[in-house]
């Protein structure tokens, strides 16, 4: 199994930490994982993305043109990465702020109203965990226990008290998928 993902959105949306959590979770499950951020100057205010590869085998290239899954969190990223999903792959996006919905027919497309849901839960910070939950339900190759372990690994100890909330968000996300 090899799963290659791109997550893209605004800086501040938790794009990088989402990717980190995915990578850590995979490692907890004794898979190989590689996390490669775009660390460009666009990070300040602008857009931000990270490529995550997960595999049973050693990961060769950390950098890719096409992905099994794209998780898209704003319009510029949609414009840039819709075409980067492999035929048959998955595109998942939060419709909040998206003005042009994806049009490809050869991929599976999911919308996750995570922003809306997080606002509803009055916890805007867990927005990205909701998205992650949604992803996990579409690509269920990671066990939730490993994801929680990955969470624990990637959060600094002082933030471990937030783990239950995050776990909740994951579960919420898992049930939030709609296919537009």
């Amino acid at each position: 199994m090899t799963e290659e993902i791109i997550i893209a959105g605004f800086g501040g949306q938790g794009v990088l930490s989402m990717g980190k959590m995915l990578a850590y979770s995979a490692i907890m499950q004794h898979l190989e994982a590689c996390w490669m951020p775009a660390y460009g100057p666009e990070m300040r205010g602008g857009t931000c993305n990270v490529m995550v590869s997960i595999s049973h085998d050693k990961i060769s290239s950390p950098v890719l043109r096409c992905f099994d899954t794209a998780i898209i969190l704003n319009q510029p990223s949609m414009d840039k990465f819709e075409s980067a999903v492999k035929p048959g792959g998955v595109l998942m996006y939060d419709p909040n702020g998206i003005t042009r919905t994806p049009t490809r027919k050869d991929i599976r497309i999911f919308a996750v109203s995570a922003t809306e849901e997080a606002t509803r839960m009055n916890e805007p910070r867990i927005f990205n965990m909701i998205v992650l939950g949604a992803y996990l339900s579409v690509k269920p190759f990671l066990g939730l226990d490993h994801v929680v372990e990955g969470l624990r690994k990637s959060l600094p100890p002082r933030n471990h008290k937030l783990i239950p909330l995050n776990e909740k968000a994951l579960r919420v996300g898992m049930g939030l998928i709609t296919q537009p």
């Binding site: 980190k20 990578a23 490692i27 190989e32 994982a33 590689c34 996390w35 490669m36 951020p37 660390y39 460009g40 100057p41 990961i59 060769s60 290239s61 950390p62 950098v63 890719l64 043109r65 096409c66």
Partner: protein, 352 residues
């Protein structure tokens, strides 16, 4: 763990004595990690944010004089500022490790990854007839592993060693097995200036030699070390080269990316292999020369306009095709385009 962090953690664990650094993207995490992890408390390692890269390298020089394991880390423009200092290390025969997490140039260029400092690292890190040993990590694991290796080599040869990484390897995260902690040195080499020992002669460390004939001898000694490196220190990795008709040559991040291109090519039935120089100086020229006797062509993959290709050509001569495919100026190639380039060069009917 990020490549930069793995490197920093390895420095703590393998008992590095001193780190001197100045912030610059994409390697600032090295300094930050060492300070946030309080390396000083963990092992007594000296960690100092300096006022400039010039200060950094001259501090490495100072600590190296005391026989300590001293290192610095920077990215391309900062490395240029160290040119004089690296030359002094080499001239005074001091060990020291310099990490270059390279970015695109020239000038300020970009903060994105690049491999365009190959010439600088391997041919002319500074003025004068000298070489530094250059290690090119291609994984987060190697970012960690090359720290103890680099120091061992630096002390073996009393010569600067560069870890030439790039923004991809420095910024990416993957699984890494960290070295077992080992204690810091407590015995220092006999040449170290740590205070004259009673009854012994005083020591001096300098790169100056005013008598030309002596200075030539000194230089010949340095050259002999470089020849010894060429004989003893070449490191490389072959991937699917056994039956290969074509060889891609790539190091660092490019090698990772090219290995995927090789897999893609194999999937198409094209017999391509990947040769990865791990040491850039000494360059695995004999190995490439040997390969050249049985393959049909080489493709050098670099995140540069083509620098390593000169070393390949020197190894191969003119009887074999050696082509170059590079993205540069901060662009990182993707496996697909490497394969496309390969096919353009070698698979098209009138490819020559």
């Amino acid at each position: 763990m990020k490549g930069n962090e793995a490197l920093a953690e390895a420095a703590i664990r393998t008992g590095v004595d001193a780190f001197f650094g100045y912030p610059i993207t994409p390697q600032s995490e090295v300094l930050e990690y060492l300070l946030q992890e309080d390396a000083q408390k963990r092992t007594g390692m000296v960690v100092l944010q300096t006022e400039s890269e010039t200060a950094s390298i001259n501090m490495v020089y100072g600590a190296a004089c005391a026989g300590r394991r001293a290192m610095t880390s920077s990215s391309s423009p900062g490395i240029s500022l160290m040119s004089e200092g690296i030359s002094y290390l080499a001239g005074a025969e001091l060990p020291g490790v310099i990490v270059n997490v390279a970015r695109g140039g020239p000038g300020l260029g970009t903060i994105q990854p690049a491999q365009s400092d190959y010439f600088q690292a391997t041919k002319a890190p500074g003025h004068g007839d000298f070489r530094q040993l250059v290690l090119a990590p291609a994984s987060v694991q190697e970012m960690a592993d090359f720290i103890p290796l680099a120091f061992d080599l630096a002390f073996k040869y009393r010569n600067p060693v560069m870890i030439l990484s790039d923004g991809v390897i420095g910024q990416m995260m993957e699984k890494v097995y960290l070295p077992e902690p080992r204690p810091r040195m407590t015995e220092f080499p006999e040449w170290a200036t740590i205070g004259k020992k009673p009854g012994k002669e005083r020591k001096r460390i300098t790169s100056l030699n005013l008598i030309p004939l002596e200075h030539e001898k000194h230089n010949q000694k340095l050259q002999a070390k470089y020849r010894q490196m060429e004989a003893e220190e070449i490191r490389y990795e072959e991937y699917l080269c056994q039956d290969a008709e074509y060889i891609m040559v790539a190091y660092g991040a490019s090698a990772r990316i090219a290995s995927r291109a090789v897999e893609m090519a194999r999937a198409k039935g094209i017999r391509v292999g990947l040769f990865r120089p791990v040491t850039l100086f000494p360059f695995p020229a004999p190995q490439i020369e040997a390969l050249s006797l049985r393959v049909k062509g080489f493709l050098s993959i670099e995140m540069s306009a083509g620098q390593m290709i000169e070393d390949i050509r020197l190894a191969v001569g003119k009887n074999q095709r050696v082509e170059h495919f590079g993205r540069y100026g901060g662009l990182v190639h993707v496996p697909e385009e490497i394969l496309e380039a390969f096919e353009r060069f070698y698979m098209e009917p009138h490819g020559h």
